[in-house]
Amino acid sequence: MLLEMERITKSYGDVKANRGIDYNLKAGEVHAIVGENGAGKTTLMRILYGMEQPSSGMIKLKGKEVFFADPKEAIRHGIGMVHQHFMLFPNFSVAENIVIGKEPGKVRFDRKTAAAQVEALSNAYGIKVDPWAKAGDCPLGVQQRVEILKVLHQGAEIIILDEPTGVLTPLEVRELLDAIKALTLKGKSFILISHKLNEVMSAADRITVLRDGEVTGTLEASQTNVEQLSKLMVGRSLAPAIKRPSSPKRAVLELNNVSLFGSGSKPLLDSISMNVRAGEIVGIAGISGNGQSELIQAIAGLLAPDQGSISLLGANVTGRSARELRDAGLAHIPEDRYIWGANKSATVAETGMMGHQRRLQRFGLMRGKEIKTLVSDWIQQYSIKAGSLDNQTQNLSGGNLQKLIVARELAQNTPFLIAAEPTRGVDIGAMETIHEQLLRKRDGGGAILLVSSELSEVLKLSDRILVMYEGKIAGELQVSDATEEKLSLLMAGGKRNAQDQ
């Protein structure tokens, strides 16, 4: 056995993120770890990579017990990690990013040798990169190759891949899976962390399932199936959401040729025209970073478009402020709950009343009682675990804060709602609640623009799906025609192929 993790337990205060986890890895094997958000996958890997120390349990490498105080020691023992959010220096060249930590030269940094080393490495493993390119300018697929070459340069034998396919196009995913295969033939071993069961099934030799910090099964990939895995992951079978067919009415939101140029060579938004009608959910699918964030911000009044017009309920609202848009009938579940959606140091009531404050006032003073009743009602209705209303927002868990934000925005009762990544990083229970509420709003005649990087979510909720690619709408599909394959192609920019099919 190459690596053995035995009875790993990790507690943060009262919370046990890992409880007695056993996990092992053979040389040349891909052993995946799957589980829901919060199941303890990332914690386990942070322990293996030396970023955290286990509360109890031990790690053995080739039969010998090891202890990693920091990532440097893990790297020295041949463990490398490709993080979910890439750990690159965007201003540095590809070669610099790969050799960092093991630079050629004594005092002087010999950049030419570095480039040569990278060239050699890239040839040896058949992973193509341009050593002199600026890392920040490379597509995400290339950035991931850079990450993999970096851990190979560090001499890794065991490579941890944390949710490696989240930001890749389907073609890039295939390339990645091929690269993994090729590397295992050269003796490298992989720990693949993912929640995408299909990919895990096609790439892994063995699969370990975690739930609530515990192992619920370790299976041979050849002897299991997606259904069995998802049951082990969630602990119960999921009831499929019941969605009535939609009957869309007049257009609520209309975009006409909206462009945003940004500072790069390509526009961030490129002549976007679209609409959202009352009583329908329009889903925006796409690999993240293709203009979705900018589109949301332009519609929500946080970025003024350089060209084109936006109208809400028939009124031209181009370039209006967020305040004016909200007054005109927009509510907005933001894509990042901490950056946009909350003030961590404010109380739960204060975070909850944002956007409602001007309604709940008398002579410029806040109506404290009514605000409290309002927020308390949401806490009950959505079963949010918030402690008291005076608790600090930062003490809420991600799922509970997300539910608070969803409640806050739905309570605006506006004709139009932006729901950006409404369930990112929340557990299944919260996800079901949020989905249910969004569908209810739609059935009540609301117009919803759903932006999500999870295809399954887009497919489940939307009535119509637009795919964004490089700041453009690459295609539009009715949900009845949409399949993961068609969407994937459009997301990769393969417009024609998708329409020919």
Binding site: L88, G101, F109, I339
Partner: protein, 307 residues
């Protein structure tokens, strides 16, 4: 106009830009390590005062400067500990540092020298003026470059060294990495805090030199609050120079020139109030050309940064 623009103007500009340049280089180091050090002014003031104290006790400028470096290092360590270890808001710590410097130097001026406002002693020796062999004989360049205090030359050399460190050495490469993306640096085992401490300490040394140039290089005296905002001007010079050593040299040169120009203007019949405003006004105007990131981007990046 002859009176306003001559070689002596550039010569004096070189002298007055030195404290700004030294402090701005220190600020650039901190900025590149991810710390916006508002405390430059205070560190410089402590440097100026302790250089005079050292000079008073040791009667030797070299020892005086070493003494100043030692004292300022203690305070920069305090700054580092509060802002790096205890994760206090760097701006608040920087402001507090400036208060502490002002309070301590005023108090110590009274207790050590028993004077109020300013301390001046004819017997104190200032920094020597170095006549550079060869260079001093080159017509124009010699007049400007030669006859400065050693700290002036040191400042220019240090700027060059810093450039070499940042862009040519492995250490500097890792330094920039640690400051540019601490999370990523930590993930490959770079000890980010170590670089941050190093930056703050080096900044302390540079501010000590800046202060010493103020109190020993130009006039050989100490007055309360004698830095008079130069630390903040240095901060702007650092921002204008995009925290790159060469850019910092250029922007410090601009401010030095303006500073010596304003001294020169006093020779005319203008009220000194207005001539003294020139450096501050020029600094504010200069900031219009340097676009700050804007709060949206700034807030987004601070929201996702790891520190």
């Amino acid at each position: 106009m002859d009176q306003l623009l001559d070689l002596a103007l550039f010569n004096s500009a070189l002298r007055v830009l030195t404290p700004i340049l030294l402090a701005a280089l220190g600020g650039a180091l901190c900025a590149r390590a991810g710390l916006f050090n508002v405390g430059l002014e205070g560190l410089m003031l402590i440097g100026a005062f302790t250089a005079i104290v050292g000079n008073h006790y040791f009667s030797n400028t070299a020892l005086a400067i070493l003494f100043a470096i030692a004292c300022v290092s203690i305070f920069s360590l305090l700054f580092a500990y509060l802002s790096i270890h205890l994760q206090a808001n760097v701006i608040v710590v920087g402001i507090a540092m400036n208060f502490l410097a002002l309070g301590l130097t005023t108090f110590s001026l009274r207790t050590i020298f028993h004077v109020k406002g300013a301390y001046h002693n004819k017997e104190m020796i200032g920094l020597p003026k170095w006549e550079l062999p060869l260079i001093k004989d080159i017509p124009v360049v010699g007049d400007i470059l030669s006859g400065q205090s050693p700290l002036v030359y040191l400042a220019l050399v240090l700027a060059g060294l810093l450039w070499y460190y940042f862009y040519r050495t492995i250490g500097g490469f890792r330094f920039l990495a640690a400051g540019g993306n601490p999370l990523a640096a930590r993930s490959i085992g770079i000890r980010v805090r170590r670089y941050q401490y190093g930056a703050v300490l080096a900044c302390g040394v540079l501010c000590a030199l800046a202060g010493a140039q103020l109190s020993l290089g130009q006039v050989t005296m100490f007055t309360e609050g004698m830095t008079a905002g130069r630390g903040f001007i240095a901060l702007v010079a650092m921002m204008l120079g995009q925290s790159g050593p060469l850019g910092v040299v250029a922007s410090s040169a601009l401010f030095g020139l303006m500073d010596s120009f304003s001294i020169r203007l006093q020779g005319l019949s203008l009220p000194s109030h207005f001539t003294q405003m020139v450096p501050y006004a020029v600094t504010i105007v200069a900031m219009f050309f340097f676009k700050d990131k804007g709060f949206l981007k700034d807030a987004q990046s601070s929201g996702s940064s790891s520190r």
